[in-house]
Symmetry: C2
Subunit: 401 residues, 2 copies
């Protein structure tokens, strides 16, 4: 039984999977710090490029970092151990267990999204089936905020802060020069990050329209929404999720895209095609001269100048909690999930352990209560939900309308 | 003579032209503050949307803002008075003088780039020819950093900081996941902003390649540069200016673009086409699977989370200096130019008054000493030049290579 296992000293492996975030190394630093405090933790090994680092026996000795470097690591954006998008086969798992055996590894921690939770879940199942003694924990991270069981996930708050601040500045830019501005925001299946654009509105401006993957996108409705906003305000800023789908569930962006990773995800980011297509449609149909689109792209998840302090703290704590659960708890495996313990000014997060299977490979989408009836905006309920995660927005003055 | 004119009380108009920046309202607030201290300054009018605000008699009474709002205005990104891209005709100028006469306006301040300096220059010439009593001053701003007579311009430091921080995070993202990443940076004729990507390298990473409009772009050389970097590092991050031109001086981005403003500028921003084209070329020619491009777009100039403190202070001071020159100096017109009075740790800026004609409509490009012999990188001299303007970069840790 695993309960016995961790009464003796074991070595541990920590790895990072999926897309980086601005605070994913807070979780790494948190896990390492908690392990340093753990009398039964031996070597603390960082696997380079996720599970590929285990398969290739590429490890970094995290005990050698020292306190100063560990502190700087925590505030370094993007996955410092390197990442990977690789779904392990049964054979991969057994090869990893061989490596774990060689290195006397008794616990594995995977920091990542629902695909990484799936990897951890596969590893845990096969370990259990084989009777291989391994504690296997998932530490949540995703800017998409789409993990089940979680009120929200580490990485979301900072990406939401980036998006909100980008819209705050860009809405003022549009106010100064006019026309239509369309910004494409990351979020494959869930609209949480695109919805965060609404946090820019505190000062009474745009975005005027918000399109989420949770609602079917219609090009003609979009163009007529833009037309309506232009008539009312003489300008229009729209936030559009990269993952919007037309009727039939086909992503609007995906006309020519064919690239998939081994979890089956299609490439949506790293191209300006969706924004350009929407801008061309507005320009041609409505005859508006100044129509621009920007695709925020990868800087949403790694920009070091818009980190949410709440998100940083929670990411760190999630890493710590996973290590504590592995060494002090009864469970052989699990995922740390974040709960919400208070609202508004009394906002605070809680942490609970959930089954890997309840997070693995599953996608949480925006609840209906967060989406306005029009389908192209968010509700006040969403603003209350997201505001404490992204943190306070800078104050601005508007002299013109 | 103008010298006599400002011994009596006159009203003043301040306006903003061209593309917004993150600190252009520092210049506005600086000009307003200096005018509040000026015993001969009467009403302080902000013209809405640049010279169009004068023509349309749309003014904001800046004395009514109050100290608190003026302070928040200073740190608000983008042109708070609204902007315009409109080159005045002689007739426009005479219509403006009528409005100035009606409102007893004796001094006009235009915050903007070389096009706005050209507008101020045209207005000053016609005022002189007509014997219309007007002091006419230009306050510099441009993220492109391309104004003649200036060591650098307000707006550049903050945009450079945004670009450097975006590359810092994005290079770590590329380090984690690999492949080729191409980022398109603003800068129509001058590469200063694209070059600022090199400030991200302090921690020893990318960008590995930097393409500037000052050097002729060759697609085949670009692809072979990427190939060489991939062989050496197994990954590649490239910074590409939106303004790169092929042999013959035709912008690479411009294949299908036809939109021009009244100063003759072609639209390069607000589309992802250039990045997508370069990424497709790399992908198809080199057969690299993971090739991504992002176009930083408008958020480079208005993002509130990456403002350089040095840039803020200098932008404010430029506004103050213009008002002081108008009320205390002998010149009827001029442009405030920033000089460099020290280097490295002893960096500080100086301010001088130059003729409008020496800035108007002219473009300064990167000096040869800032561009490496390879033509696809910057020199140490450029780094020394730009580092104090963008401010200190966040410290990061790299665990892998």
């Amino acid at each position: 039984m695993a309960g016995n296992m961790l009464r003796k000293k074991v070595n541990i492996v920590i790895a990072q999977g999926g897309g980086p975030t601005a605070v994913i190394n807070q979780s790494l630093a948190g896990a390492v710090s908690a392990a340093l405090d753990e009398p039964h933790a031996g070597n603390i090994l960082g696997a380079v490029h996720g599970i590929d680092g285990v398969l290739n026996r590429e490890f970094i000795d995290m005990r050698r970092l020292g306190a100063g470097k560990l502190k700087t690591l925590a505030s370094t954006p993007s996955s410092a151990l390197g990442s990977v998008r690789h779904k392990p086969t049964e054979d991969d798992c057994r090869r990893m267990f061989e490596v774990f055996k060689e290195h006397s590894v008794g616990a594995f921690f995977y920091i990542g999204g629902n695909d990484s939770a799936e990897t951890a879940s596969i590893m845990a199942s096969i370990a259990a089936a084989d009777g291989f003694p391994l504690r296997c924990f998932h530490i949540p991270k995703t800017i998409d905020n789409d993990l089940c069981e979680n009120d929200h996930t580490p990485g979301y708050g900072s990406a939401a802060r980036f998006v909100a601040m980008a819209f705050l500045g860009d809405d003022l830019d549009n106010l100064a020069l006019g026309g239509v501005k369309i910004n494409i925001v990351m979020g494959r299946h869930a609209g949480f990050l695109t919805a965060a654009s609404a946090l820019a509105r505190s000062a009474g401006g745009g975005p005027h329209l918000i399109y989420l993957p949770e609602r079917t996108f219609s090009m003609s409705a979009f163009v007529s929404d833009v037309d309506r906003v232009m008539s009312k305000y003489g300008r229009c800023v729209a936030a559009v999720s990269e993952g919007i789908c037309g009727s039939g569930g086909v992503p609007v962006a995906v006309a020519g895209a064919t690239e998939r990773d081994s979890h089956g995800n299609i490439q949506l980011s790293g191209t300006g095609a969706l924004g350009d297509m929407l801008a061309a449609e507005v320009k041609n149909t409505l005859g508006i001269r100044r129509v621009r689109s920007d695709t925020f792209g990868y800087i949403q998840r790694s920009f070091p100048g818009a980190v949410s302090p709440v998100d940083s703290r929670e990411a760190r704590r999630a890493g710590e909690e996973a290590v504590r659960a592995a060494f002090s708890g009864d469970a052989d495996s699990g995922s740390i999930a974040i709960t919400r313990e208070g609202d508004g000014a009394s906002y605070c997060a809680g942490y609970k352990l959930v089954a890997l299977s309840s997070v693995a490979g599953k996608t949480r989408r925006m609840p209906d209560g967060f989406i306005s009836e029009s389908g192209c905006d968010v509700t006040g309920e969403f603003i209350e939900y997201a505001a404490p995660l992204a943190g306070r927005m800078p104050r601005t003055v508007r002299l013109i309308r």
